[in-house]
């Protein structure tokens, strides 16, 4: 059976990445797994597409990367939140809450 997918609004992936990295530094694979686990596979992050998003976020100074050793003793690139990223996360969280509250109100009104 084919999956029926709905693309999410812009900025959502960035918010999810920021939120995932707020707890601990992680490599790309870990970020995807964490998002899938937390959402019980309801949200699907395209594995490869994550990386351009990560690089863009690093370019903007929201996250920074450093090479480390993974859980299976391999060299891996770990990402962590910067102070700018922390501020962006707080702003985006507030924004998301406002939007979802507004949409909920509209849906309840009809």
């Amino acid at each position: 059976m084919a999956n029926d997918r709905t693309d999410l609004m812009q900025g959502t992936l960035e918010l999810l990445i920021l939120n995932t990295l707020a707890r601990e530094s992680m490599h790309g694979y870990g970020i995807v797994q964490r998002i899938h686990e937390t959402t019980e596979d309801l949200l699907k992050v395209e594995d490869g597409s994550l990386y351009p998003a990560l690089y863009r976020m690093e370019e903007r100074g929201l996250i920074k990367s450093e090479w480390g050793v993974s859980e299976n003793n391999r060299r891996a690139k770990f990402y962590k939140l910067t102070r700018t990223g922390q501020r962006k996360l707080e702003a985006e969280r507030a924004n998301w809450n406002r939007i979802s509250k507004a949409v909920s109100k509209i849906l309840q009104a009809t």
Binding site: N3, L43, Y51, G61, T82
Partner: protein, 148 residues
């Protein structure tokens, strides 16, 4: 006639960036492969499934290398510009005898210092040049998830 000789440092730097991106992406594919092996997928299929699940490797790699290079190139250019500005300002202060002219030199140095501060505060470059975002990379699954 001027002959265009590629800068060996630029070439090496791009190669290094490309190698690091390739290593990072390969790590992800290998982790996927391991996951599929654990889930009981037959050996010949797991690698193909991991590559398929990951997506267009070459395209993703190119995107990452370009973003990385763009980031470092832009920063290098801005850093060089601030240094040139500071030296110009200093030269004006040293060489000029008129007070009004030396003030221009002081202004240039102040501008370059401000530029360096902006560069130091990470994220300022990104906000000046906002990224183009394409968000086909995240979706809600409205049915039973299937990942191969």
């Amino acid at each position: 006639m001027k002959i265009g000789i590629p800068n060996p440092f630029t070439f090496t730097s791009r190669q290094k960036t490309a190698a690091e991106v390739a290593e990072e992406l390969q790590f992800h594919i290998d982790m996927l492969e391991g996951k599929f092996t654990q889930s009981g997928m037959p050996a010949p299929q797991e690698k193909a499934a991991a590559v398929k699940r990951f997506g267009d490797l070459d395209n993703i790699k190119n995107q990452c290398v370009n973003i990385n290079r763009r980031n470092s190139l832009l920063r290098r250019m801005l850093k060089t510009f601030t240094i040139v500005l500071a030296f110009t300002g200093l030269s004006i202060i040293i060489l000029a005898s008129d007070y009004k002219v030396t003030r221009i030199g002081t202004m240039l140095i102040l501008i370059s210092l401000f530029g360096r501060l902006l560069l130091h505060a990470r994220g300022c470059v990104g906000s000046v040049f906002p990224p183009r975002t394409r968000e086909r990379s995240l979706s809600v699954i409205n049915d039973t998830p299937k990942y191969t």
